[in-house]
Amino acid sequence: MMETQSKVVEEAVSTGGKVVEIKHLKKSFNDRVVLKDVNLDLHDRENLAVLGRSGSGKSVLIKCMVGLLKADAGEIQVLGYNVTSLSAEKLNELRLQVGFSFQGSALYDSMTVRQNLEFPLKRNLGIYDCAQLEELVIKALKDVGLEHTIDQRPDELSGGMKKRIGIARTLILKPKIMLYDEPTSGLDPQTSEEINELILQVRERYNTASIIITHDVSCARQVSDRVIALIEGESKLEGTFEELRVTNDTNLKHFFNY
């Protein structure tokens, strides 16, 4: 396992600090073209926000990156792995290094918070020692500020808490890349602010590079080093938040003015 990990890191470094590289990605569902031509790079320890309207294919993009959806055409390199041609075993190896925070948190509702966090540890790392499990779970929960919820069930938690626990569950495997799917959707401004703060803290504590899929302009402004605008299935504009804010592109102007 360790050998594989170091190989992956070497490969990532050999691609010039780029941990993700996507070229000419296309994806359609039946007759509906969702992604026409998406190109993006993500560098080590960088926070990249992908901004776009609902239905513009943002979530499809990150699902293609972890092999949840199969791309129709194009190239996806993640940590040196070519996702489009990976075997099931290699794909699993890659997924262990990529954390995915779902829009609806996707906590396992038949389990408590503790069991949710223990689940990947037991199944991926084969850790069954109670003391070690407890230590890792508490640490991950402390990092998201929710250690007191350890024995609660997901239906007893608020939306913001669920998002944090979802993030803690992915962090427990110490991923190299975090993918956030609409981290602030459905949350009040104050909780959104807390989640944005958490995204920044995650990078500091875990040295992760992140892609943040969002239509929340304030989230993009607060957490991103760079922003890519996804318009009608194409990655059209790229730059810092301030650069994009003053652009003359009509689609994006509407977005920022809203």
């Binding site: 972890v66 949840l68 990529v98 995915f100 779902f102 509702d109 990947p120 199944r123």
Partner: protein, 265 residues
């Protein structure tokens, strides 16, 4: 054959339904292949299979007990007058035991489990699918197919024969109470009658049939739940499909097994 094709071409809806059914059959076939691949390759899910076995037994025990007991009583009460009119009342334990072991026990257990477990598995996996819980397992590399599907299908295949043995016992006990009320015959005599009228092949075929019922219920229910879509409507549809298709398959398997056993008997 050609008239059948013409019939389908003239009715596009029938053609679409047929196409959809054939596509579904091909997907179920792939699903079953995937099941066997995952079931026989490590890591094995022993602990979760045991959990599922316990859950299946626990969920169905009361209903199986209740329905089997009533079935034993009703079948005996209905058969008694017919046998009495031929002066063959003493054959009642033999008749009931053969009916229970060969057909009634597996069928009742199969149908109860199709309703109880089928809806449960279909709805549970369906809601996990639409709330992205299965995707979350997939992206964290935790092999959801092995954990959710293989364990349930193996557990239902293992538990149905056990439940059938239990159901046979309960139905025969119910039947004994009825026989006892007609003729005051003792328990020992009843058991002797039952054991001489049941052949080993009856028990064996009944258990094989039960295992096939369990496999069908597990596979169909997991398939419909695991592949559900369209939010809450999809979850309801998955549960409904799981029950209806499982029940239909129980009768089909029963018929095929009957034909097969008639050939070898």
């Amino acid at each position: 054959m050609f008239s059948g094709i013409k019939f389908l071409i003239r009715r596009p809806n029938s053609l679409m339904t047929l196409t959809k059914t054939l596509i579904d059959v091909s997907y179920i076939y792939r699903f079953i292949i995937e099941f066997f691949k995952k079931a026989f390759s490590p890591p094995y899910e022993g602990r979760e299979i045991l959990n599922q076995c316990f859950s299946i037994g626990n969920k169905s025990l009361f209903l199986v007990t209740f329905t089997s007991f009533l079935a034993g009583i009703v079948f005996t009460k209905q058969s008694q007058p017919s046998l009495a009119s031929f002066g063959a009342e003493s054959w009642l334990p033999s008749l009931v035991s053969q009916a229970v072991v060969r057909s009634l026990g597996p069928l009742i257990t199969g149908l109860i489990c199709a309703g109880k477990l089928g809806s449960n598995m279909g709805a549970e996996l369906g809601s996990m699918k639409v709330t992205e819980q299965i995707d979350a397992m997939e992206v964290s590399g935790t092999r959801p197919f092995s954990y959710l599907v293989v364990t349930r299908v193996v557990a239902s295949t293992l538990m149905l024969p056990i439940l059938v043995i239990y159901s046979d016992g309960v139905a025969l006990f119910g039947s004994f109470l009825m026989v006892n009320s007609f003729s005051d015959s003792g328990f020992q005599l009843y058991i002797n009658e039952v054991s001489t009228s049941i052949a080993l092949i009856d028990i064996f075929s009944s258990l094989v049939k039960a295992a096939l019922f369990g496999f069908a219920i597990g596979t169909i229910s997991c398939y419909s739940g695991y592949n559900s879509s369209n939010g809450t409507i999809g979850v309801g549809k998955a549960a409904n499909t799981a029950v209806v298709v499982s029940m239909t398959f129980i009768f089909i398997i029963d018929l095929i097994m009957l034909q097969f056993l008639n050939l070898i008997r």
